[in-house]
Amino acid sequence: MKIRYFAWLRQRTGCGEEEIALPDGIATVAELAAWLGERHPRFAEALAARGIVRCALNQVYVEPDAAVRDEDEIAFFPPVTGG
């Protein structure tokens, strides 16, 4: 699966995107985020601040309980500030 990070989450993880295999026992966006937090401590910090990390699954906004599969693209980012 492809994991993407944007804005200051990209800077804190030190990577814009990474390819990983769906880890065993991970079924939802929330579980995946927690697992990724072990690789990227500063991503874990951001996750701990509730409401600050948004998630898109295959380029569509989803809630933390959305199911993930190995072929998905999952993106994490802060609240948007365009316009």
């Binding site: 944007f6 990209r10 898109a56 993106a75 980012f77 948007v80 500030t81």
Partner: protein, 148 residues
């Protein structure tokens, strides 16, 4: 129509090309968002907009569809830039055309309100104290909620 682009755009030319000559159109509303030269009292030298290619277009198109579902619109144009911009440069243009004035005005406000809280863009400002990611504003969230 939705365009997401790195290149600057010419507001006057875009508006001049938008939906004129359709004789059932009674009103055209536009909004242009510009890079401001100050933010929280600090001078902003430049700003870089990061975006999520693919999702950005998809999300703005979804917002356009929602606007068309709510109002009888003859034409919709959204242009949004990404990349590095200087103060005074246009970031975003929204234009709507309708037979009815209220539909054009309300849908234009709706489009920019939802764009600001849903389209995946992130602003990073360059000030005298370095680079800084702009934080989301509660009043933008409040403006977007007006339409729920």
């Amino acid at each position: 129509m939705v365009r997401v682009q790195d290149e600057p755009f010419d507001v006057g030319a875009e508006i001049a090309a938008f939906s004129w000559g359709a004789t059932h159109v009674g009103g055209i509303a536009t909004f242009v968002g510009l890079v401001r030269g100050t933010h929280r009292g600090e001078r902003v030298r430049a700003m870089t907009l990061e975006h999520y290619p693919g999702m950005t277009e998809r999300e703005i198109e979804a917002i356009e569809q929602e606007a068309r579902r709510r109002w009888p619109l003859d034409a919709v144009l959204v242009i949004h830039r990404y990349g590095r911009m200087k103060p005074g440069e246009p970031i975003v243009l929204v234009a709507t055309a309708s037979a009815h004035r209220a539909a054009a005005l309300d849908s234009c406000a709706f489009l920019i309100d939802w764009l600001k809280t849903r389209a995946p863009f992130w602003k990073c400002e360059e000030t005298d104290h370095g680079e800084c990611w702009v934080e989301a504003r509660e009043d933008d969230e409040a403006a977007a909620r007006r339409w729920l």
